[in-house]
Amino acid sequence: MRACKSLPCMARRKLKNYLRTFRKRAGLAQGDVSYLVKARTKGEWSRYERSMRQPSLRTAFACEEAFGIPVARLFAGLRESVGDETIERMHRLKSRLKTTGNTMNPARRFARKLQWLGQRLADRLIPHISPA
């Protein structure tokens, strides 16, 4: 079989959202789901599926309720990228605080900030959930 010759490198990140997957698994049409989540048209829902638009928080919660899947899992890729970006910013804030030092804030507040940042970065409690 020709398929087994040489295997390509197949690593990539999660997709921005899995709305289409869960809609199709439920056997629903775009019109049905757009009615359920109160989207204006099925075109609007289609844009959400293709990640051309990001739904509002209200629509995201409606999706969670409709499919019975947590928002973090429905928008797994987006969740992951936002999480990574936030961790990156926390690192930057920590280093900025260390370099600029305690000029404005009271000592205890400054210490608490650094302690909290260190704790969060150590924990890295960002759940990455697959759509299964």
């Binding site: 020709r2 398929a3 197949m10 990455h128």
Partner: protein, 165 residues
């Protein structure tokens, strides 16, 4: 920074003269999307544009890391044309394309025995429950193949590729 688990996405295509069935699998087991895209009618250049358009929408949405095609029959210029367009588009996006032959699929599902397309589809519907309600009724000898069988053929390609790796 916490690294995400790397995933692989396979886009399997079952080519027919007027349509292609597709199945998108993540990590070779999670079925993300499936369906049939038609490219009937129109003049040759327009038909090729239509195929490219329909394929590129799939590629942009699912960002596959591998494209699988079924074996192209030697005596079908229409299918060969579609395969050429798909290979060109995949090369443009730097995606590897693999061809899985009929024998590979049969050996993956039949375990050495002869197996029909419908039996393969039934086995797939058992393995992937979301496909169960898509299973068309068994074809009578005087009927032509149901268009939804392409979806099962495409999914079978991906499963066969996984089992033969």
């Amino acid at each position: 920074m916490k690294k995400s688990k790397s995933l692989s996405t396979i886009l399997a295509l079952d080519l027919h003269p007027g349509r292609f069935g597709y199945a998108v699998l993540e990590d070779s087991r999670e079925l993300l999307d499936w369906g049939v895209r038609r490219n009937y009618g129109g003049q040759k250049p327009w038909r090729i544009t239509l195929i490219r358009k329909k394929l590129s929408s799939l590629l942009s949405q699912w960002e596959p890391t591998l494209v699988l095609l079924n074996e192209v029959p030697r005596f079908s210029p229409q299918i060969q044309r579609i395969a050429t367009v798909i290979k060109k588009e995949a090369r443009h996006r730097k995606l590897p394309v693999r061809v899985v032959d009929k024998q590979g699929v049969k050996s993956a599902f039949g375990l050495g025995q002869q197996i029909t397309k419908y039996e393969t589809a039934c086995l797939l519907a058992e393995q992937i429950p979301v496909l169960h309600w898509e299973l068309p009724p068994k074809r009578k000898i005087w009927e032509s193949e149901h268009y939804r069988m392409s979806v099962f053929s495409a999914a079978a390609l991906a499963m066969a590729y996984r089992s033969l790796r």
